[in-house]
């Protein structure tokens, strides 16, 4: 019984998704919000508050799913995500200005 639960939690922790940005692709986990992971990959994203109330880091979400552990104060338009607090839940494609 204990042997089945262990790999499951391990798998959950290492859940990795692809993020497509134009021709670039980076891998992200569900451990942290998208913004810090984009920054670590050297992708410059606008930010201000980094806690979901200023909407500076709003990015177009072309397809895929994200979720928010806390509902952000900023208005999140449909088809957009707030990078500072969004947790990526599937492979996604994002775009800055079109």
């Amino acid at each position: 019984m204990t042997s089945t639960s262990k790999p499951e939690s391990l798998e959950k922790k290492e859940q990795v998704h692809r993020v497509l940005i134009g021709k670039k692709q980076i891998l992200v986990t569900e451990e942290e919000p998208l913004l810090v992971q984009l920054e670590r990959a050297g992708i410059h994203v606008e930010y201000q508050c980094r806690e979901g109330y200023c909407s500076s880091c709003s990015i177009k979400l072309l397809w895929g799913n994200v979720c928010y552990p806390f509902e952000p104060l900023a208005w999140v338009q449909s088809g957009y995500l707030l990078a500072c607090c969004a947790i990526v839940k599937s492979d996604i494609e994002i775009a800055f200005f079109d």
Binding site: Q48, C49, S55, S56, L73, F97
Partner: protein, 377 residues
């Protein structure tokens, strides 16, 4: 219909629209039609700060060492910020409180406006610290043509709405002849249009105009000059980010029709007007940049770079309220501004270093005598 400070009617405030419904009577927050405004109030309260907390003694020395054209940039920018917050410290109250219909939104408007008065107080704090005679600076705000041009464009939508609401409250609907102004027609769609355009112009003020002025303040701090001033502007920028979220919510709620179906029609009709407000403000800000740097630029910032930032930030803000972007500039020409704008390193007391919005007095009231059972004296 005239305004009442305590509406005697019994009605369900959960069914009222944000504006132009019943006047608010009981200030109750246990139920909210739009909980976002209650959350904004809480956040704003957690941001409370006072300008005197920031020491500006080094700024005085820095200011005296600035070159003449840099003093012009610094002071003009400060005058402009003073103008913007003079308007914002009163206008949401004067224009919006008589027509608001939700208690949580009414209190958000008051909280929002109050925080703008702290900004105004901080400009006085700054000016008093860097010059011997603040009167010279303050007087110039009402006489300097470059500043007064801006005053006209930031106050005209407010003033128009206030005038129409005054007429509506005293006379009701109809066409009224106002000496010197001609006939003014008051209908509900016209009132709502005036409101929508006012909220849009406030959003432009907070989301575009303020940010252009922040860029200048932080431009000095990038060169390790006027750093006390930058600390204050950082606190102001944190508040403004919240305020612009408030106006974006108002605009998007209106446009969605979820709050008031008639407002959605008006928002749709006003799309081009709102677009024009954004573009006009951006052009004015670019003109302003030329005026700021007329006698010379400073390291890292000149009229051209600031102009590109105006275009960039206008695009970002237009997109945030569902408009197509207008300008070519798609990248931030001054990416260093983010490090100054970021709120999570606003200086805080050591015990609250983890979070900028520290809540005071968070005690655990659920303690029971049994919790002390393992205590030995």
């Amino acid at each position: 219909m005239s305004y009442s400070t305590f509406n005697r009617k019994k009605f369900d405030s959960m069914k009222e629209p944000m504006f132009f419904g019943e006047n608010v009577n009981v200030a109750r927050y246990d139920q909210q039609k739009h909980p976002i405004f209650e959350k904004l109030i809480e956040k704003q309260l957690s941001f409370f700060w006072r300008p005197e907390e920031v020491d500006l003694s080094n700024d005085r020395k820095d200011f005296q060492k600035l070159e003449e054209h840099e003093k012009h940039i610094f002071l003009s920018n400060l005058k402009y910020q003073t103008l913007l917050d003079s308007v914002q410290g009163r206008s949401p109250n004067v224009a919006l409180l008589p027509i608001v219909s939700l208690p949580e939104l009414e209190t958000w408007i008051e909280t929002w406006s109050f925080s703008e008065t702290i900004h105004s107080r901080s400009y006085t704090h700054i000016i008093r610290n860097i010059v011997n005679d603040p009167t010279l600076i303050f007087d110039d705000i009402v006489t300097n043509e470059e500043i007064t041009k801006r005053a006209d464009s930031v106050s005209k939508y407010y003033d128009n709405l206030i005038e129409m609401v005054n007429l509506y409250n005293t006379m009701g609907f109809g066409t009224f002849n106002i000496p010197g102004k001609g006939d003014i027609e008051i209908t509900m769609p016209k009132l709502k249009k005036a409101l929508y355009l006012t909220v849009a112009s406030v959003n432009v003020l907070e989301a575009v105009r303020f940010y252009v002025s922040f860029a200048c303040s932080f431009g000095f701090a990038e060169r390790t000059l006027m750093e006390g001033n930058a600390k204050i502007i950082k606190l102001i920028a944190r508040d403004e980010a919240l305020h612009l979220t408030g106006t974006q919510h108002m605009m998007n709620l209106m446009a969605s029709g979820k709050d008031d179906p008639e407002m959605a029609i008006i928002a749709e009709e006003c799309k081009d007007d709102v677009r024009d407000i954004f573009i006009e403000a951006a052009e004015q800000e670019k003109e302003w940049a030329t005026y700021l740097f007329k006698d010379g630029s400073m390291i890292g910032l000149n009229a051209q770079i600031l102009g590109q930032y105006v275009e960039y930030i206008t695009n970002v803000r237009m997109q945030a309220v569902g408009l197509d972007t207008y300008f070519e500039t798609k990248h931030n020409p001054i990416p260093w501004i983010n490090a100054w704008l970021v709120s999570d390193n606003v200086q805080v007391a050591p015990q609250e270093a983890e979070i900028s919005s520290y809540l005071v007095g968070q005690t655990d009231n659920s303690l029971d005598d049994s919790d002390f059972d393992d205590f030995d004296l």
